[in-house]
């Protein structure tokens, strides 16, 4: 699952005319028992302090560290001299880094495409169903959505178990294929097949529900008119539904890219069940192994900074869209 941490779930203020209380002194005079005037800034102190301490400060440290020689010796007190862009050069000329990058992007591309297509198809299916069937389907999707990523991965790992997994059993017994004792995780490509299955399975409900909710906002009259004019299902989707839901699609699409690029839990836990780490690490897992595993904090920091830049750049449109829609 991933309960979406970023889309706005709150009802929005529809009439833009609702005015915000001004903090001008005139208002204050109407108050009978004036207390010490408190400013918006004091209300922001607790939140800002936590964010500055736990995200801002480490981020600064990270950037500094990425320009330093910082390994095991420095952890135990040796001086850590600044070495300019050496860490970055080392990372960017390291073939394994590019391999991991490629792997992450390829994995994300497959997952995002499948999730978007299947999620949209399921949303369209939902809008065609009767009440009862739609409720049944919704409950099924909700259960998948609610599953924590880690438990989901472990359960799928059990289903794909080499000796006693239900998948091998069904393929062998029901379909007559020879999958007795077949290991799904040892081979990188089939490892990623299983990983993608877990990620897509968990992400489809979010896409399906979001798109479905958007579909309910497309006015029926427009669709009916198009149908009368002889537009087929595909045309109706391409010419009417898609333009209506454009911003929803874009936001969901970007969120999916970010989530799938960052994927950590599924890959990490699946490696614990039986994958070969060197051949299956994606960006998140690579950072984990490279810094906490080897103690090369300098180069680990450089990789992390590059990751932050890439992800933040991709999310640029999402941030801009959120700001625009909210009419700050």
């Amino acid at each position: 699952m991933s309960p979406n941490p970023s889309l706005d779930i709150a009802p929005r203020d529809v009439d833009g005319d609702r005015r915000i209380a001004s903090s001008q002194p005139g208002r204050q005079r109407a108050v009978k028992k004036p207390r010490a005037q408190f400013t918006p800034y004091s209300l922001l102190i607790p939140a800002s302090a936590v964010l500055a301490a736990v995200i801002g400060w480490p981020l600064v440290q990270l950037v500094i560290m990425s320009f330093q020689e910082f390994g095991r010796a420095q952890v135990f007190g040796a001086p850590s001299p600044f070495i300019g862009f050496d860490n970055y050069v080392e990372v960017l000329t390291d073939q394994s880094f590019w391999l991991v990058m490629f792997r992450s992007f390829a994995f994300a591309a497959v997952c995002v495409t499948s999730t978007m297509v299947l999620g949209t198809l399921i949303a369209l299916l939902m809008s065609e169903l009767g009440k009862v069937m739609r409720l049944i389907l919704s409950i099924g999707l909700l259960l998948a959505w609610a599953m924590p990523a880690l438990t989901a991965t472990i359960v799928w790992g059990w289903m794909f178990d080499t000796s006693y997994g239900v998948v091998n059993y069904v393929l062998t017994r029901w379909f007559g294929l020879d999958y007795i004792g077949h290991s799904w995780l040892i081979e990188p490509l089939s490892f990623f097949f299983v990983a993608a299955l877990i990620v897509i399975w968990g992400a489809i409900p979010f896409v399906a529900f979001t798109v479905y909710a958007g579909l309910t906002q497309v006015p029926d009259e427009v669709l009916e008119a198009a149908q009368l004019d002889g537009a087929g299902a595909v045309q109706r989707f391409r010419l009417i539904i898609f333009p209506y839901l454009r911003s929803i699609f874009l936001v969901v699409f970007i969120l999916q890219i970010i989530w799938d690029l960052r994927v950590f839990t599924q890959i990490f836990a699946l490696q614990g069940i039986g994958g070969i780490k060197d051949q299956t690490s994606t960006l998140g897992v690579y950072i984990y192994q490279n810094s906490l595993g080897t103690g090369e904090y300098g180069t680990g920091g450089a990789i992390a900074v590059i990751t932050v830049i890439v992800i933040t750049a991709i999310s640029f449109y999402y941030v801009r869209q959120s700001v625009k829609e909210e009419e700050l």
Binding site: I9, D13, V31, W158
Partner: protein, 275 residues
């Protein structure tokens, strides 16, 4: 005919969605020696609760209870602190106009996009320098920072939904500004606080990476880290106990999730589609 095909399709999708959840639960009720035979049972033949006993009470093999305790304390503290801080911050950005207001909101949105994966090393080192590694407090602070941006952003929408006239009326009737926030706005925000709080709860409860890095000592583990440790230890020998552990960890999330999901999708779209 078309209806029949669509219905069948819906059932296939539903089955695919539910199957892993079903498989987890049904395996957890089977004796371990029966799931490692050449036959696979699609329904428990000899229903048993032994796996749950193992997970919950066999303290030599499973540290479930201490992990549950850690998870509950960290998650509840996270939600309470985050809600209080977010309530204050969302009042500031909705009820006041001030210079750095836009800047603050923009920062919140950008901070939300910084991947935790990239921050683990420096988070570890910063917490270490404050002697907060392997403590409830350390993990709680990290989680508060993780859920805060989302919580502020969401609560802000709910506060916007409370008419400011109500506060003004209360102030004319003699309440102070903070009194109006406390006695008028806060009660009206209850549904919003519940929804946002539950999402914070789910995020903190499921969080795996930071917990793995920051609280790695066995007695300080949270449930996800415990589950993975337990899986590594029993991976080839006792899948039914692992499934019992997974079920226990997933249940609270599933229940909470079902409670708030309706609010989630309806609100999600109200602003996103305009036209």
């Amino acid at each position: 005919m078309k209806k029949f095909i669509l219905g069948a399709l819906a059932l296939v999708v539903t089955a695919f969605s539910i199957f892993p959840v079903y498989w987890m639960v049904q395996t957890s009720f089977q004796p371990n020696n029966e799931i490692i035979g050449s036959e696979v049972n699609f329904w428990p033949q000899n229903f048993t609760l032994r796996n749950y006993e193992t997970v919950l009470f066999d303290t030599t093999r499973s540290q479930f209870m201490p992990a549950l305790g850690n998870s509950v304390v960290v998650t509840v503290s996270t939600v309470v602190i985050a809600l209080v801080f977010a309530f204050l911050a969302s009042l500031a950005v909705t009820r006041f106009r001030f210079k750095s207001r836009k800047g603050f909101i923009l920062t919140i949105l950008i901070v939300q996009m910084i991947p935790a994966e990239a921050m683990i090393v420096s988070t570890y080192r910063v917490l270490d320098s404050w002697s907060l590694l392997n403590t409830i407090m350390g993990l709680t602070i990290v989680y508060v920072a993780t859920v805060l941006p989302f919580t502020i952003w969401t609560l802000r929408g709910f506060v916007n939904g409370v008419p400011v006239e109500l506060e003004e009326a209360a102030m004319i009737d003699g309440l102070s500004r903070s009194g109006a926030f406390w006695r008028i706005t806060l009660p009206l925000l209850a549904p919003g606080l519940v929804a946002t709080g539950v999402f914070g709860f789910i995020q903190a409860w499921n969080e795996f990476l930071l917990a793995l890095v920051v609280n790695s000592r066995p007695e300080m583990m949270t449930l996800p880290v415990w589950l993975r440790t337990f899986q590594i230890a029993n991976g080839t020998t006792n899948w039914s106990a692992i499934m019992a552990g997974s079920t226990l960890m997933a249940i609270p999330v599933i229940i909470f999730f079902l409670i708030v999901q309706g609010r989630m999708t309806s609100g999600l779209v109200s602003g996103a589609v305009k036209g």
